[in-house]
């Protein structure tokens, strides 16, 4: 009896000794600097296998069990395509653009998603795009609050394999001019790269509105509201993985100029003729019992210029914006602090009614004197 217990103790002692010794050796090895972290050298095959095996299983385990939205939705695909162009194509390639040689030097090199996206389920792609991957160059989505944006990229990835160069460009650039005009143009602007940050790729310009109904119409919005929105995006106060990197690249002057440009554009015709009587009532009279004030007391022409005008706005964008506001954990900007509590009092049906009503309203004529 006594002898057996001593036997167990001896085994335990050996285990502890090996663990401590092994740990110390590992630490010494790392400290020695002999292991090369050079991306140029690649991994040992065993390490590569282990990392890949762990990554694949981790994604499978963590991918959400929720059903994706409809991924064949053209609005979603267009939004995803436009974001893919500016955020993903550099490393993952796209029709007409090979994977960048700089990106190919990463370890592991980013996969060409035209051929590799099918290896993952929709939910797995969503999870990777939202959270990124450790020990690779794949970054997480800039905000963790905008699942709707991540799904747009997943929808686009499903469409990607069947796109040729022309179809891809039509989706990702809209009709923004991509080709440089001449040699000097290329020399001075960097040629085709300059269109990446073009607002008009998603929001339209001139007399053309957004290609995707999930993107807001900016034509004729008051400049202070547009400037405020861009600043909020740039500072991460308004969460968006799509808008934040683009807005953060703008200077104070470019923000002012581009806001003034959209303010000066003539209003577009209403996107939808479908009227909504409940939406009209809520927008003009509110619902005192549910403590919902009438929308139009802040969202029509005589309101403060930091408030958006809603007449003629895309219904899908507006409904989505209200839902995002309902789910936001914390209001970081002055206008969100006012609107989010009201948005949370709206039912899903009321959101749909209001979005339909405002989409059917003829937009106001060009705003005069919106400067404060």
């Amino acid at each position: 009896m006594l002898g057996r217990r001593t036997g167990w103790r001896r085994i335990l002692g050996w285990v502890l000794l090996i663990a401590t010794g092994g740990g110390t050796l590992l630490l010494l090895f790392a400290w020695s600097g002999l292991y090369s972290v050079a991306a140029s050298r690649g991994h040992w095959p065993i390490v590569e296998w282990l990392l890949e095996f762990g990554m694949e299983n981790s994604v499978e385990t963590h991918a959400p069990g929720i059903a994706p939205p409809r991924l064949d939705d053209p609005d979603l695909i267009r939004l995803g395509a436009a974001h893919f162009l500016s955020a993903c194509a550099e490393c993952h390639g796209a029709p007409g653009t090979e994977v960048s040689h700089i990106a190919l030097g990463m370890l592991p090199p980013p996969p060409d998603l035209r051929h590799r996206a099918h290896e993952w389920t929709d939910q797995e792609l969503f999870w990777i795009a939202k959270h990124g991957l450790k020990y690779t160059g794949m970054p997480a989505w800039p905000t963790q609050e905008r699942d709707d944006e991540v799904w747009a990229v997943v929808a686009f990835l499903r469409k990607l394999p069947e796109l040729d160069v022309a179809a891809y460009r039509a989706l990702a650039y809209g009709d923004v001019r991509q080709e440089p005009q001449d040699g000097e143009d290329i020399a001075m602007t960097g040629g085709g790269l300059r269109a990446l940050g073009a607002c008009a790729r998603c929001h339209g310009a001139g007399d053309r509105g957004p290609l995707s109904a999930l993107v807001p119409r900016l034509h004729g919005q008051p400049a202070p509201m547009l400037e405020e929105a861009l600043r909020a995006y740039a500072e991460g106060m308004r969460p968006s993985g799509i808008m934040q990197p683009l807005a953060a690249a703008l200077s104070a002057r470019t923000i002012r100029d581009v806001a003034n440009y959209y303010t000066g554009l003539g209003a577009l015709p209403s996107p939808s003729p479908a009227q909504s009587e409940p939406g009209r009532r809520l927008a003009t009279e509110g619902d005192a019992v549910a403590e919902i004030p009438p929308c139009l007391s802040c969202h029509d022409r005589q309101a403060l210029p930091v408030y958006p005008r809603l007449a003629g706005q895309n219904a899908r964008y507006m409904a989505n914006r209200l839902r995002v506001m309902q789910q936001s954990a914390r209001e970081r900007t002055a206008t969100q602090a006012i609107m989010a509590p009201i948005a949370r009092r709206l039912s899903e049906q009321q959101i749909i009614d209001l979005a339909a009503y405002f989409a059917s309203l003829p937009p106001e004529p060009r705003l005069a004197g919106t400067a404060r």
Partner: protein, 311 residues
């Protein structure tokens, strides 16, 4: 006693009856306390004879059953009769009728014109001293309780029901009240004031309360009015005579003349109005008004100046 909020400083018949009841109950409780104290002393320190008597059946029956039944029964009858007097009291001729609705977390106050049209105010009930006032008490959301201890007893405001409370302030003065039923987060900051004015002052006040808000006189106030309207304040608040017709929050037509804002929480002043507009959620957490940080400092001051001028 001149306490602002106390049962023991009654003003008016209703409150005096309740004060008398309170004193009687205190006195009764004191007697019972003394008798019990004496019995306790006997039980521990009394002579053997006294202790034997205390332990006898007769002492238990008289002291433990008959005495409490008689005393509590008498107090109950007395209390009920006072309650009945309060319920049965018929308002004198020319009584003032006011509707008071408890909302999270403020009081909507509606006077009626001769032709029945409403004159709305909030959180401050002005009444004529010496005249009967009949309050119709209702709730817009959860159970509240209306209690101005110097003037009358406590009456619950139950959703879907209308309760009546008759009271009269014997003399002019300010009487503070409090929501007396827990009604959610800012319950403790749901107070009100009843301001009893001499009859003539009240009559002239009510006549002017009927009016629309006057056109602001100063440059800053006018700018404040424009900002008030364009920032959407009017979607929840009404200022009679302007396009602000909101019904969700308190009527602000005469907010500048009320002694307090935010349901008797902050003294009315330009500074406090400005503080509440931007920081109301810290001053009164959970209240229905979102913070309006969209104003610059000068704009905020203009809006506050406009509100303070509404009197």
């Amino acid at each position: 006693m001149t306490a602002l909020q106390s049962v023991l400083a009654p003003s008016g018949a209703e409150a005096e009856r309740i004060a008398a009841l309170a004193w009687t109950l205190f006195a009764g409780a004191l007697c019972v306390f003394l008798v019990v104290g004496a019995a306790l002393w006997i039980a521990m320190r009394g002579s053997a004879v006294a202790r034997r008597r205390l332990a006898a059946d007769k002492a238990v029956i008289v002291g433990g059953i008959v005495f409490p039944v008689v005393v509590l029964g008498a107090l109950l009858v007395y209390g009920l009769s006072i309650m009945r007097q309060g319920i049965a009291a018929i308002a004198g001729p020319g009584a003032l009728h006011v509707e008071v609705t408890g909302e999270q977390w403020w009081w909507r106050v509606i006077y009626r014109d001769a032709d029945g049209s409403p004159i709305e105010s909030a959180n401050e009930i002005r009444i004529p001293a010496g005249r009967d006032v009949v309050l119709t008490l209702a709730s817009a959301d959860v159970i509240h309780s209306f209690w101005v201890p110097n003037l009358a007893g406590k009456v619950d405001m139950i959703p879907g029901r209308r309760h009546r409370l008759k009271l009269a302030a014997a003399k002019p003065g300010i009487y503070r009240g409090q929501c007396a039923e827990y009604c959610g987060g800012a319950h403790a900051l749901m107070s009100l004031e009843v301001v009893a004015l001499p009859e003539a002052d009240f009559a002239s006040w009510l006549a002017s309360a009927r009016d629309r808000a006057a056109e602001p006189s100063g440059e800053i106030e006018r700018r404040g009015r424009d900002l008030f309207l364009s920032a959407g304040c009017g979607s929840c608040h009404a200022v009679r005579g302007t396009s602000a017709k909101g019904e969700i929050g308190p009527d602000l037509t005469r907010v500048g003349e009320r002694r307090y804002i935010a349901a008797a929480t902050l003294p009315t002043s330009r500074e406090n109005l400005a503080r509440f507009i931007v920081d109301g959620q810290h001053l009164k957490p959970g209240n229905g008004m979102p913070p309006f940080r969209v104003f610059s400092a000068a704009e905020l001051d203009a809006v506050a100046a406009y509100l303070a001028s509404l009197r």
